[in-house]
Amino acid sequence: MSSVRSSRSVLPGFGLSLGFTLAYLGLIVLVPLLAAFIRTSEMSWADFVTAVASPRVLASYKLSFGASFLAALVNSFFGLIVAWVLVRYSFFGKRVVDALVDLPFALPTAVAGIALTAIYANNGWVGGWMEPVWTAAVAKLDAWMPWASWKDWLGLKIAFDRPGVFIALTFIGLPFVVRTLQPVLEELEPELEEASASLGANRWQTITRVIFPELLPALITGFAMAFARALGEYGSVVFIAGNMPMHSEITPLLIITKLEQYDYHGATAIAVVMLVSSFCLLLLINLLQKWSRRHHRV
């Protein structure tokens, strides 16, 4: 890497490829984003603050970031298990399962939203089944620990409420974690586990002290990608969320709402906040990742 501009490189020069890279990124990524900033800069500071910090918008940030974070976290855990199973074992139908993982990628988000809503709605397969179970569970808990206010949870729904947002975001984030972990798991030397076992470590110690630290950088990458994807997700969530202001309204939906009301400045202002905060978060995650792989030779 030291002689990037080596004059004897076989491939076309650094200048040409970097120029192309910058032009392409500029055209596709930078210019549209810049437009958002420029539009926003036309607002007065007071307008900007009102646009991005009204209670309804703040509530949407909380939901968007919170649910995205939670979904990415859950995906990291289960995605790891899925990737592990797909890499380590061979079983009948493995290819089908492997292809299934990509489905949330390929499916139009609206289709995903409608399908999830149909299933989790109170008259759907899972929703219909969950409702009585949940009611019974709350009754049990209430009888057991009457001092806790379990009854408040009685009306909990999955679809058309916050859990729906979380489920949709989990659904669309899974492939990112699995696909990031798979190649890393494939390259993980079995000798590491054998070395650990021959030194007397039990399975749990081998997993937590040897395998997990090896996977951590990839896991953080997968988490970051799932998180970023969830933050920007719109299509599937709007169908299942119920979209109640102050309660189950995600930020991307709020931006669309503003646009529909011809409040372009308000929309871009929120967009800018989302952009800057996601950028900061991703930067933070990148640093974390760099830290976690500080001893790995890439």
């Binding site: 054998e194 076992a197 021959s198 030194l199 007397g200 039990n202 110690q205 630290p213 030779r297």
Partner: protein, 351 residues
């Protein structure tokens, strides 16, 4: 602690890696398992370590009369060193070596100070005194392999098993490290088995060499025994260079200095090492097989000649540099070859 393996069979699907192998490793010896790839040597080592289980119903593994066949690898008391080190990248050298102690149950685990003490002793033993705080990626290949060795020794193993320990190193480091291993073994006197496909390595440092081929043991003996008295054509060919001479030959030097024709009623092929041949300048009326010089390779401690007998039978000969000067040979010169020592195997022993 001696190791005894009796009738070990291991198959992977339809592939037989070990076909009823018997092995005894005497206590305190350094033993090499030598063979080409696919001969089953690594599998045998892994079965001894407990990383692989022999086929059910096949034989037993004993460490000093104690049957360990069903004991899991972590409880067998083996130190295992992997070809590619298998160091834990996210841990310092110190933590790598301490790993085996840190995973012990609280009751059996030594105190932090005791662990630190032991690790430092081991670092000293493998001559890496000041590198405890480094990470494996900051070390050279030879250093990593020594860390792996120290890590294996930290748990006080009863036997040390090394799988191609120098396989991933370059030639020079390899030579240094194997001398060091020999010396190291003499210091700690731990029963050690190492796998290698490099005959030079095995012959140089092992007390005993176990030559394996096609899932079976071909011969067991000291380096000199297996080199000088190979039990099978395979061992002959695998250990060092050998000419397969198509009999009959005209030149054979007897021990008493006389010479005559060389025939063997039971074999068509004689195995002769390059240094067991004598070269004379061609003269009419002298016993010897006529050949001509094809190449002369004199860069080294001995001169290597390639001779051609008849139209296409190549014979390698090694003579001293001094003898080469005396003979003053040139390419295409006719010479006479005489066999000083040879070995024949009965005809049906096909390889």
């Amino acid at each position: 602690m001696s190791i005894t393996a009796t009738q070990i069979t291991k198959t992977f699907g339809t592939y037989t890696a070990l076909a009823g192998v018997d092995l005894h490793v005497p206590s305190g010896k350094l033993v090499a398992l030598l063979g080409p790839s696919g001969s089953g040597k690594t599998t045998l080592l892994r079965v001894i370590a407990g990383l692989e289980t022999a086929d059910s119903g096949s034989g037993r593994i004993q460490f000093h009369a104690e049957d360990v066949t069903d004991v899991p690898t972590g409880k067998r008391g083996v130190g295992f060193v992997f070809q590619h080190y298998a160091l834990f990248r996210h841990m310092t050298v110190f933590d790598n070596i301490a790993f085996g102690l840190n995973v012990l149950k609280r009751k059996e685990r030594p105190s932090k100070d005791q662990i630190a003490d032991r690790v430092h002793k081991l670092l000293k033993l493998v001559q890496l005194d000041n590198l405890g705080k480094r990470y494996p990626t900051q070390l050279s290949g030879g250093q990593r392999q020594r860390v792996a060795l120290a890590r294996a020794l930290a748990v006080d193993p009863k036997v040390l098993l090394l799988d191609e320990p120098f396989g991933a190193l370059d030639a020079k480091v390899r030579k240094e490290l194997r001398r060091w291993l020999r010396q190291f073994h003499d210091e700690i006197n731990l029963t050690t088995v190492f796998v290698t496909h490099d005959q030079e390595e095995a012959l140089e440092i092992a007390d005993e060499v176990v030559v394996m081929n096609q899932a079976k043991i071909e011969q067991v003996g000291t380096p000199q025994e297996v080199y000088d008295h190979p039990a099978t054509p395979f061992v002959y060919q695998f250990l060092g260079n050998v000419n397969k001479l198509q009999l009959p030959w005209r030149g054979f030097s007897n021990a008493d200095g006389s010479h005559g024709p060389f025939t063997d009623s039971s074999a068509k092929v004689a195995y002769v090492r390059p240094h067991e041949l004598e070269v004379l300048r061609y003269r009419v009326g002298v016993d010897g097989e006529v050949a001509s010089i094809r190449t002369i390779h004199a860069a080294g401690s001995v001169a290597r000649l390639t001779c051609v007998r008849g139209s296409s039978e190549f014979v390698d000969v090694e003579i001293s540099r001094q003898r080469l000067d005396e003979l003053a040979l040139a390419i295409d010169d006719p010479v006479l070859l005489r066999v000083r020592r040879s070995r024949t195997f009965a005809e049906d022993y096909a390889i």
